[in-house]
């Protein structure tokens, strides 16, 4: 694919697992991946940032708790405040919640078991950096692989998330029906991903970076990366 020129940084924390896959997905979709380091204060001028999946700091204390306070998170917070696109995937979502950039928290799956399978998501909002090219109601297939992916929030947070349309993805059937059987982990309201008020910070438990190359499985992550690269490029041109 022709390079769009968008430079996307992927942060590696001690214990990150999916940083390489995220970089590969950026390349596959026509962007330029830039490896970033958790202990650095340098975002290297990237146009978007991805916090990848894994088990940062061994998930000690709580998933994402220590990574949420890492040196580079100060820069990512400032980048997000300037409107820069930030995507947190799985552990990255947990890190964004722990750092206060997104509302809510992720706790142990309702089944108490680690779940690894492909699921369907219904797009709830196109007002984000990763769904700008999608339609609400559209469904995509992507894998999940997590033990602590049950989204919870305080009553006030939930009212705001739902009231302001901040749910980005819900677990659903392939036809887009949001029901109990399509909820893999017990997340409240089948919530798989949420956004901040401006829509430039997004977190989700499923893994779009594992779902871009048709040779290795479903391709439901392509639209998210295409949107992220397009949004990143707009920012770069601004």
């Amino acid at each position: 694919m022709v390079s769009t020129g968008a430079r996307v940084g992927v942060v590696t924390f001690p214990g990150s697992l999916d940083d390489r896959d995220a970089l590969d997905a950026v390349t596959f979709m026509g962007g330029t991946g830039v490896a970033l380091w958790h202990a650095s204060h340098d975002l290297e001028g990237v146009d978007a940032v991805i916090l990848p999946g894994g088990f940062s700091y061994g998930d000690y204390l709580r998933c994402g708790a220590i990574a949420g306070k890492a040196a580079i998170m100060q820069e990512i917070r400032a980048f997000a405040e300037r409107g820069g696109p930030v995507l947190g995937i799985c552990n990255g979502f947990q890190i964004l919640c722990e750092s206060g950039l997104l509302p809510g928290a992720l706790i142990r799956n309702r089944s108490l078991q680690f779940i690894c399978k492909d699921v369907w998501l219904r797009v709830e909002s196109s007002q984000t950096a990763v769904t700008a090219g999608m339609e609400p109601g559209e469904t995509i297939e992507v894998p999940i692989k997590h033990g602590e992916g049950q989204f919870v929030a305080t009553a006030e947070q939930l009212e705001q998330i739902e009231g302001e349309g901040r749910v980005v993805f819900r677990y659903a059937t392939s036809a887009g029906l949001v029901d109990e059987t399509s909820n893999p982990n017990g997340s409240i309201g089948n919530i798989a991903g949420v956004r901040n008020d401006r829509g430039n910070v997004i977190g989700l438990m499923p893994h779009p970076e594992h779902a871009v190359d048709p040779d290795v499985g479903p391709t439901g992550g392509q639209g998210m990366f295409a949107s992220l690269l397009a949004t990143a490029l707009e920012g770069a041109l601004r």
Partner: protein
Amino acid sequence: MTFTFEVLVTLKAGLADPAGKAVEAALPTMGWTTVHDVHVGKHIKLTVEGPDETAARAQVEEIAQRLLSNPVIENYRVLDQPEA
């Protein structure tokens, strides 16, 4: 001066506590059949430098709020009588 504190972090009521459940499930096989509502939390011990205990405790309270616990899912308590 240094002051040692202990912080207890517990899951809020109603949240899944698989560690507590696993312990509870092990008890009947050992003969304890009347134990219910078992919960497992975290215990964190810290030694803090400060001019006095009040200042040191205030620091620990802030650490407990901002790092050791997540207010969405957990409660914390700084113990009154820390171990020497």
